[in-house]
């Protein structure tokens, strides 16, 4: 029941928002996301009291072909739902004090997106899962397209076609599994307990892998990502990078590995190598970027590459590290893009070269920006550190050389992040008569909450590990 409530609050909010206008829309959206966050917290408490037993709900939707409304929340799903519902209020709040055209539609789409995301994370029937997966694409397409900046038409269409092409491959995989499964069902339990014959596992693996690799994105399927992040409105970018790409990494754990275990084992080395190449490649490209948003986009590719590599190591620490890092990366990347937005809001520029000396004008902003930068270069005591160490250890267990190679991300990450910070925030101002007011109230709330989360999960990550351990162990068996 709780999972259904968590699913339908955003949908209800999304419909109600269409009736509001102007500034009320922002407040209504914020109120609903906060209520949703409260409900999530309550669900988490209940979940803990029940000893981490999954919430399970099954209802018949269509008899022939058999499709069940099967929703379930184990530790992994719970963590992803927490991530989604934790970030949404912050994303909504970051739009206060900014000019947004037709805010009621904008926020309505955003909450529709939340509905779809929660749906993806709790669906346990392949068909329902696919529907939510596709549904998530529609609002984000319109958010990026209608409210985006220059070049948006080409960029967003490329994004849409790219990801939909991947989804159709996955659909083909699902249809194939459906025709082959013993009682014609796509239920997660049935699919995982009756894996398809080894002769088919290879190509089914690649169908699903490419679909997820496009969404994550893993190199070489990443070409849609930097441009889309660049041209989408900041809140769209936050949704995309903070939550939506976690759909891909989550699906690797939830669907790809349990459904085609033999295929995964066979192609593990190739997949992990692709991921690690992506980590290093994206880090090097990030060093050369002069556009803030693009720099963060490439750093995001590097981080999720490491997360995916950890997942494909198929070790306990790799998997758990990936989940910790998904949460951490979600929080940090939203913070980074928000900082970029604050800079753009004051200077109308994302260009690293033209900025400088902001610290003198806005010391509070400089402090919190620093905290987020340090967290994303994985300084000890921040949330980035715990996940990254576990991930690297997982990859190291798989292959020592790959582990060492992936470890470069820490050095390269420090290079591009700290260089960026130095050029943008320190030194003398390069702009004549720059007017850079310090943080507004909503910006303070967002950045301080992100800062608190960075330290809390960095110093005390045990609850996350406890939450996910039973589910991961079950998967690895």
């Amino acid at each position: 029941m709780l999972s259904l409530i968590l699913l339908f609050i955003p949908l209800l909010a999304s419909l109600l928002l269409l009736l509001t206008r102007g500034n009320t829309s922002r407040i209504v959206a914020l109120a609903f996301t906060v209520v949703q966050l409260g409900a999530t917290y309550y669900a988490y408490q209940v979940f803990k009291e029940q000893g981490f037993q999954p919430f399970d709900i099954q209802m018949v939707w269509v008899v022939k072909p058999a499709i069940n409304l099967h929703f379930s929340m184990d530790g992994i799903s719970m963590l992803m739902v927490i991530l989604t519902n934790l970030l949404l209020p912050l994303i909504v709040l970051s739009g206060f004090n900014r000019e947004i055209k037709r805010p009621h539609i904008f926020y309505s789409l955003m909450l529709l997106m939340q509905f779809a995301l929660v749906g993806v994370f709790i669906s346990f029937d392949g068909f329902i899962y696919y529907i939510f997966w596709e549904l998530a694409l529609i609002p984000i397409y319109f958010i990026s397209f209608v409210w985006g900046s220059e070049n948006r038409a080409q960029v967003t269409l490329k994004f849409f076609i790219y990801t939909l092409a991947g989804s159709l491959l996955m659909l083909f995989g699902f249809v194939f599994l459906y025709t082959g499964s013993p009682n014609h069902s796509l239920d997660w339990n049935i699919l995982t307990s009756n894996p398809t014959c080894n002769c088919n596992q290879t190509w089914v693996f690649w169908l699903f892998f490419i679909a997820f690799a496009i969404k994550i994105p893993i190199i070489p399927f990443h070409t849609w990502q930097p441009d889309t992040y660049r041209s989408a409105p900041t809140q769209g970018t936050m949704l995309l990078s903070g939550i939506m790409l976690k759909m891909g990494t989550y699906s690797l754990i939830r669907w790809l590995i349990p459904i085609v275990p033999a295929g995964t084992k066979e192609w593990q080395a190739v997949a992990i190598t692709l991921c690690v190449i992506g980590v290093v490649y994206a880090s090097i490209i990030a060093i050369k970027q002069s556009d803030l948003k693009k720099l963060f986009a490439y750093s995001s590719i590097a981080h999720v590459g490491l997360i995916s590599a950890g997942i494909f190591s198929l070790t306990l620490s790799g998997m758990q590290g990936s989940l910790v890092q998904m949460l951490a990366h979600g929080i940090n990347v939203v913070g980074l893009f928000f900082c970029a937005d604050i800079i753009f809001n004051r200077t109308q520029s994302y260009q690293v070269e033209g900025l400088g000396g902001i610290r003198l004008a806005a010391p509070k902003f400089a402090t919190w920006f620093m905290v987020i930068v340090l967290a994303s270069v994985a300084l000890p005591l921040t949330n980035g550190f715990v996940g990254e160490i576990m991930l690297l250890y997982g990859i190291y267990q798989f292959n020592i050389w790959l582990g060492a190679f992936a470890g470069l991300t820490i050095i390269l990450g420090a290079v591009y992040m700290l260089r960026m910070y130095q050029k943008v925030m320190l030194g003398e101002s390069l702009m004549d008569g720059m007017n850079f007011p310090d943080l507004l109230w909503n910006e303070k709330v967002v950045l301080i909450s992100i800062g608190i989360m960075i330290f809390v999960t960095g110093i005390y990550p045990k609850p996350i590990l406890d939450l996910t351990e039973p589910a991961i162990k079950l998967l690895l068996k």
């Binding site: 939707w61 269509v62 008899v63 022939k64 072909p65 037709r102 539609i105 068909f127 696919y130 529907i131 596709e134 549904l135 694409l137 529609i138 319109f142 397209f145 209608v146 948006r152 038409a153 269409l157 849409f160 076609i161 939909l164 092409a165 159709l168 491959l169 659909l171 083909f172 249809v175 194939f176 459906y178 025709t179």
Partner: protein
């Protein structure tokens, strides 16, 4: 049978109304009458009657008949608005439209090849006239003439095929024809095969499948927009239902020979429809090619007729029809205001009329097959059926086709939201909005809960 009789009477009333000076009554009587006929049609559910070995009213004909009547009802509601400024012709137009429906109803319930031929001809001849009904417009004349010439050719094929089948089997009755290859499995006459191939060619023409599709874009483009809406939905429903009935009832015992022909046609249709749609700038041509590509997906159902996928066929056709009619219900007022039928007539509709733009976006998403709309489930059912029957490569072509499809359906959405608005003021009326929202509600409701249709068969 009652359905057929009362629909004909309705058409007859429209004709007489002109003489009796009851022109004002035509609109309300038609809508009311069709609604009654729709109800009457439901009475035949589970009745299974045969009339003199000519017509057979069973659940198949009732289901598709209801769909056809529903489409006609929507088109009639649109037509009272569309023909508002040419009232002196209304009785002619309405009569002819009624007889299109009569033809379609015959095509669903034939149990004798002569009735099939009569049904197709009644439907086609009425549409030849309607395609050319804008008398002073060159394109409309071209459309009518082209449709007539090509259609006459196809009818010739059909008739010749029926004659050859009759020559070899000695009967027009579909059951007897179906039994023929089983009873005479040793010496099947070559006339029989030739006849069936000719019939298949004629049906491929009617459903606008490649390589017999060339008429569709020109005719769709030239015909008045209301007629295009009617043609692209009702004709597709009628032709595919009849085609399915033919294949499943008559040819199923001799499929191995024809599977190959149909398979090649399906792949060609998918490729041609999707690839040619990419470069279109005229909205009606775009929908024509999209219709061809949808014919390609539906061909997969015809191919898998061994496993009786009637529900999938009905579901897909309903989903396709409501999305297409919704698209036209937005396009009609826009075209009228902009005096152009190109995609750029929609430029900036997103800022001028956000609700209309959202509606057209939903229709386009439905056609592209994106959940939660009916188009998605329809495609899913089709792919499953095709895979279960082992049409592996054709399914892959169909999936690639749907990827390409996104691009051209999104061209319309891009125009609405991405282009600066033009000066033209668009005004819609109650009738357009009614049809539009009924269609979208169906597309969403049955997309979320397909059981009512899927469990029919």
């Amino acid at each position: 049978m009652n359905t057929l009789i009362f629909t004909s009477l309705l058409g007859f009333f429209c004709m007489v109304a002109e003489i009796l000076n009851l022109r004002k009554l035509i609109g309300p009587v038609l809508v009311l009458g069709l609604a009654l006929i729709f109800g009457l049609n439901q009475q035949d559910w589970n009745m299974n009657q045969t009339f003199y070995g000519m017509l057979q009213v069973d659940n198949f004909s009732v289901a598709f008949g209801s769909l056809a009547i529903f489409i006609t009802l929507l088109v009639f509601i649109l037509s009272s608005e569309y023909y508002a400024d040419q009232e002196h012709h209304i009785s002619d137009y309405m009569t002819i439209l009624c007889f299109v429906l009569v033809g379609a109803l015959m095509m669903f319930s034939f149990s004798n090849l002569t009735m099939l031929f009569l049904g197709i001809e009644t439907l086609s001849i009425a549409l030849y006239i309607m395609a050319g009904s804008k008398r002073f417009d060159k394109r409309s004349n071209e459309a009518g003439f082209k449709y007539f010439l090509m259609g006459a050719f196809a009818s010739g094929f059909l008739l010749f095929g029926i004659a050859l089948v009759f020559g070899s089997t000695g009967s027009f009755d579909i059951q007897k024809i179906a039994e023929y290859p089983i009873l005479n499995s040793q010496n099947i006459s070559p006339l029989y095969y030739t006849g069936i191939v000719l019939i298949i060619f004629a049906m491929l023409f009617k459903v606008s499948a490649a390589p017999f599709h060339f008429w569709a874009p020109d005719v769709y483009e030239g015909a008045p927009v209301l007629i295009t809406a009617y043609m692209s939905t009702l004709v597709k429903v009628a032709a595919f239902a009849a085609f399915y009935k033919l294949v499943s009832a008559v040819f199923v015992y001799s499929t191995p020979h024809f599977e190959f022909v149909l398979n090649i046609a399906a792949i060609l249709t998918l490729a041609v429809g999707n690839l040619m749609a990419l470069s279109q700038t005229n909205f009606k041509r775009l929908l024509a090619y999209s219709g061809i590509s949808h014919a390609g997906y539906l061909m997969l159902i015809i191919l898998s007729s061994k496993s009786q996928p009637v529900a999938a066929l009905l579901y897909y056709l309903l989903g396709y029809s409501v999305s297409t009619i919704a698209a036209f219900a937005v396009a009609m007022p826009v075209f009228k205001a902009a005096n152009s039928e190109n995609i750029d007539a929609f430029n900036g509709l997103g800022t001028k009329k956000p609700v209309l733009a959202a509606a057209l976006s939903i229709a386009m998403l439905g056609l592209a097959g994106i959940p939660p709309f009916m188009g998605f489930f329809g495609k899913y059912f089709i792919f499953t059926e095709a895979l279960q029957n082992g049409f592996f490569i054709t399914t892959i072509v169909a999936i690639v086709g749907s990827m390409i499809g996104i691009y051209y359906y999104f061209k319309v959405i891009l125009a609405m939201y991405g282009q600066p608005a033009n000066e033209v003021k668009v005004e819609t009326t109650f009738n357009y909005n009614l049809v539009l929202w009924v269609c979208l509600a169906i597309s969403l409701a049955l997309g979320l809960y397909p059981a009512p249709i899927v469990n029919l068969f």
